[in-house]
C-alpha cells in the first residue's frame, strides 16, 4: 500500500495572503482580496516537491485559536489532522501575527513560518532579522512574497526542516513574550506617510469616508454603464449581427429537420422573440448580460483588492445599526449586487443568527443580481430612466422597511462592529485578471447554460402549445391581481430556475411602463434562483431558509399589489 501524502495546513491571521500562497503552490485558481474573510470554506489541493506528494489545506484566517463560533471551531479542528503547518505571517505586522504563531507552537506540530509581504517591509521602513527570529522560535522562517512569487521554492525546501517550535508561553504572558521577541528581531525606521496612507486616513475620516463612498458609488455605476454599453453597442452587437447570426442561420438552414431548426434558431426575425437556443439564448446571455457582468466584476475586483470595502463598512456602520446590523454587513450586500451565492457565503463572518437573517433579507431584497440588473437596464431603457429608477428605488425602500420591521420583531441587539482595516494595496493587474477569469469562467459554465435552458423550455412550451394551459391558471391570477400579461406565467415559473432569465424573458412582451415596473419588482423579489436558494439552505439550514424565502415572497406579492394599485389609482385620478 502507498503511504498517504503528508498533509500541510496553511494557517494564520485573516488577510495575510494564505489563499494566494495556496494558489501559488498548488496552481489552483482561488479568489483572493484585500480584506479579512475572503476564504470562508476549507480548500484542499496537492503538490509535489522532491518526488514527495503533499496534500495542502488552506484554512480561513483566525486571530486566535481560542474561538467561540462553531465555524471557527471547525477551522481549529483542522489542526488535529495535519502533519505540518505553514504559518503565514504578515511581515508588515509581525507583532500581532506572532500571537497566532505562539498559539500554534503550543499544538506541538512541526511548522515553517512564512514571512509574507516581505517586499512591502522595505518601503514601510521595517527591518526584520529573520535568521534570528528562526533561532528564537526554533523553526525555519522564510521571507516570501506570494504576490511577486518569490521565496516559494525556499519555503517548500524548508518543509524538510519543519520543526516543533521550542518556544512555549502561558496565555497571560504571551503578549509580553512577543514584545520581547520583537525588540530582538525588528527595527522600525521613521519615514514619511505614503500617498496610500494619506488616502487611507481620508477614507477613514467621517466626512471623507462619506464623500469617498458616494464618489465610489457614482463612479462604479458610471463605469459599469459605460463599459457595458460600449461593449454591447460597439463590439458585441455588430459582431452578432454581421458575423454570428448570418453564419448560424446559414448553417442551421442546412439541417433538414424542421423541429431542430425551430429549437435552434426559433421562429421569426425578431431576435428577442424567436426563442431559439442559438439566437435568443446566445443573444441574451452573451450580448446583453455578459458585458454588464464583466464590467461589474472588473470594477468590484479593483475595490476588493485595493482594500476599500472594509472602509465602506466603517463609514456605513451607524446607518446599518439602525436596521439592526453593523457595518460588516455592507460587504455581503455589495457582493450581492454581483451574485447572491458568494454574498450568502460571506455572511459566515457574522456572529449571531439574528444578524445573519437580517443580512439575508437585505441581500435578497435590496437589489437584484448583476445579470438581472443588466436586463432591467436593457429593457427599462425602452421605457424611461424614471421607470428604471422606480424599480431600484422601490426595491431599496422595501428592503429597508422589511429590515426595520424584522429588527423590531426579532429579539436582540445589534452586536458591535469589530474589524481590522487592512492597509491600502495597489491591486496587482495579474491577480485581478486571474480573479476576473475565474468569475467569467463560472458565468459561462453555470449561468449561460441556465439561460439557454430557459430559452429552450419556453420554446418547447410554446411549440407544443402548453403555454396556453399554464397561462390560464397562473396567468389569469397575474392578470387579475397585478394587471400583467397572462403569458408571463411561464416567466414566473422559469424565474425560479434562474432569476436573470426571468427578467430577460420579459423582453418579448409589449408591456406598458407600469407593467414593466410591477413585473420587474415582482420577479426580483418573489423567489431566489435555484443556485442562491441552495446556497441559502447551506448557510442557514432549510427551516431558516424557507422562513426567509417566505418573507420575501410575501413582500413581493404585497409590494407588487400595492404598486399596481398605486398606478391604477394614479391613472384613475388623471383620467378624471
Amino acid at each position: 500500500m502507498e503511504k498517504t501524502a503528508p498533509s500541510v495546513l496553511i494557517a494564520g491571521n485573516p488577510n495575510v495572503g494564505k489563499s494566494l500562497l495556496f494558489s501559488r503552490i498548488t496552481g489552483l485558481g482561488v479568489i483572493t482580496s484585500n480584506y479579512s474573510g475572503t476564504t470562508v470554506g476549507v480548500k484542499t489541493g496537492h503538490f509535489s516537491h522532491k518526488n514527495t506528494g503533499y496534500k495542502l489545506v488552506d484554512m480561513p484566517g483566525l486571530y486566535s485559536l481560542d474561538v467561540e463560533t462553531s465555524a471557527e471551531q471547525e477551522t481549529v479542528k483542522l489542526l488535529d489532522d495535519c502533519d505540518m503547518i505553514i504559518n503565514v505571517v504578515d511581515a508588515t505586522n509581525l507583532e500581532r501575527n506572532l500571537n497566532m504563531t505562539l498559539q500554534l507552537a503550543e499544538k506541538r506540530i512541526p511548522m515553517v513560518i512564512c514571512l509574507n509581504f516581505w517586499d512591502e517591509t522595505i518601503h514601510k521602513g521595517i527591518a526584520i532579522d529573520h535568521a534570528h527570529l528562526a533561532k528564537v522560535l526554533g523553526a525555519p522562517v522564510i521571507p516570501v512574497s506570494a504576490l511577486q512569487n518569490t521565496g516559494i521554492r525556499e519555503l517548500l525546501e524548508a518543509l524538510d526542516h519543519a520543526a516543533v517550535p521550542a518556544y512555549a508561553e502561558t496565555p497571560d504572558n504571551r503578549w509580553a513574550a512577543i514584545g520581547g521577541i520583537i525588540s530582538q528581531v525588528q527595527k522600525l525606521s521613521h519615514r514619511h506617510h505614503t500617498l496610500l496612507e494619506i488616502l487611507s486616513d481620508f477614507t477613514l475620516h467621517p466626512a471623507g469616508g462619506l464623500v469617498s463612498a458616494l464618489l465610489m458609488l457614482v463612479l462604479t455605476f458610471w463605469g459599469i454603464r459605460t463599459i457595458g454599453e460600449t461593449l454591447i453597442n460597439q463590439v458585441l452587437t455588430p459582431l452578432f449581427d454581421h458575423y454570428y447570426l448570418p453564419a448560424v442561420l446559414k448553417l442551421i438552414a442546412a439541417i433538414p429537420w424542421e423541429l431542430a431548426q425551430t429549437l435552434l434558431v426559433g421562429q421569426g426575425n425578431d431576435i428577442m422573440r424567436s426563442f431559439g437556443i442559438l439566437t435568443t439564448g446566445i443573444y441574451i446571455s452573451v450580448v446583453l448580460v455578459f458585458p454588464y457582468f464583466l464590467a461589474f466584476y472588473l470594477i468590484f475586483g479593483i475595490l476588493e483588492d485595493f482594500g476599500f470595502l472594509p472602509r465602506l463598512a466603517v463609514t456605513f456602520d451607524s446607518f446599518f445599526h439602525r436596521i439592526g446590523l453593523h457595518g460588516y454587513s455592507s460587504i455581503p450586500v455589495m457582493l450581492g449586487l454581483g451574485c447572491k451565492v458568494p454574498a450568502f457565503m460571506a455572511t459566515r463572518m457574522l456572529a449571531t443568527k439574528r444578524e445573519k437573517v437580517l443580512t439575508y433579507t437585505l441581500i435578497i431584497m435590496s437589489a437584484p443580481c448583476m445579470p438581472q440588473s443588466a436586463m432591467i437596464f436593457s429593457i427599462g431603457m425602452r421605457h424611461s430612466g424614471a421607470a428604471i429608477a422606480a424599480v431600484f428605488g422601490t426595491l431599496l425602500v422595501v428592503a429597508l422597511v422589511t429590515n426595520l420591521l424584522l429588527n423590531r420583531l426579532m429579539k436582540g441587539v445589534p452586536p458591535d462592529l469589530f474589524m481590522e482595516i487592512p492597509s491600502y494595496r495597489m491591486p496587482s493587474l495579474i491577480l485581478m485578471a486571474r480573479k476576473l477569469q475565474l468569475r467569467i469562467g463560472s458565468y459561462f459554465l453555470e449561468t449561460i447554460p441556465m439561460i439557454i435552458i430557459g430559452v429552450f423550455i419556453i420554446n418547447i412550451i410554446d411549440t407544443v402549445g402548453a403555454l396556453q394551459t399554464i397561462s390560464q391558471s397562473l396567468g389569469r391570477t397575474l392578470a387579475v391581481i397585478l394587471s400583467l400579461p397572462e403569458e408571463m406565467a411561464t416567466v414566473v415559473i422559469l424565474g425560479f430556475l434562474r432569476k436573470d432569465v426571468s427578467i430577460a424573458m420579459l423582453a418579448p412582451f409589449d408591456m406598458t411602463t407600469r407593467q414593466f415596473v410591477v413585473a420587474s419588482v415582482f420577479l426580483v423579489l418573489y423567489l431566489p434562483c435555484i443556485a442562491s436558494f441552495f446556497s441559502l439552505i447551506r448557510e442557514a439550514g432549510p427551516a431558516q431558509a424557507l422562513k426567509v424565502v417566505g418573507l420575501t415572497f410575501t413582500s413581493a406579492v404585497g409590494v407588487a399589489l400595492a404598486l399596481n394599485w398605486a398606478f391604477l389609482a394614479h391613472q384613475y385620478i388623471s383620467l378624471k
Partner: protein
C-alpha cells in the same frame, strides 16, 4: 451608563471620549471574558499602547491604531475600553 469623566483632568477615559491622535495605554476592559478575548487576539490587551484615529458621528465606530494594526470598534465596544493618557496633554 454614566458619561466618562473628563479626559484632561483625570488622565483616564474610554476610547469614545479619548482625543484623536493622542497616545494612550489600555488599562481596563470592562465587560465579559468574550470581549477581552476578542480584543486580546487582535493585539488589544491591558498595557497595549493605542492611538485613536477617528470616531464616527451618531454612535458610530471608533478607529484606533495599535502597532501596525488598524482596527474599527463599534461604539458600545469602544466605551468599554478604558485607557490612560500617555505623555503631556
Amino acid at each position: 451608563m454614566e458619561k466618562s469623566s473628563h479626559a484632561k483632568q483625570t488622565g483616564t477615559t474610554n476610547l469614545v471620549n479619548l482625543d484623536k491622535d493622542h497616545p494612550a495605554r489600555i488599562i481596563e476592559i470592562q465587560g465579559g471574558h468574550g470581549l477581552r478575548e476578542r480584543l486580546n487576539a487582535m493585539g488589544l490587551a491591558i498595557g497595549s499602547v493605542i492611538v485613536k484615529k477617528n470616531s464616527f458621528y451618531g454612535q458610530g465606530p471608533v478607529v484606533i491604531k495599535s502597532g501596525q494594526t488598524t482596527v474599527a470598534l463599534g461604539h458600545g465596544m469602544a466605551e468599554k475600553v478604558i485607557v490612560e493618557l500617555i505623555g503631556p496633554s
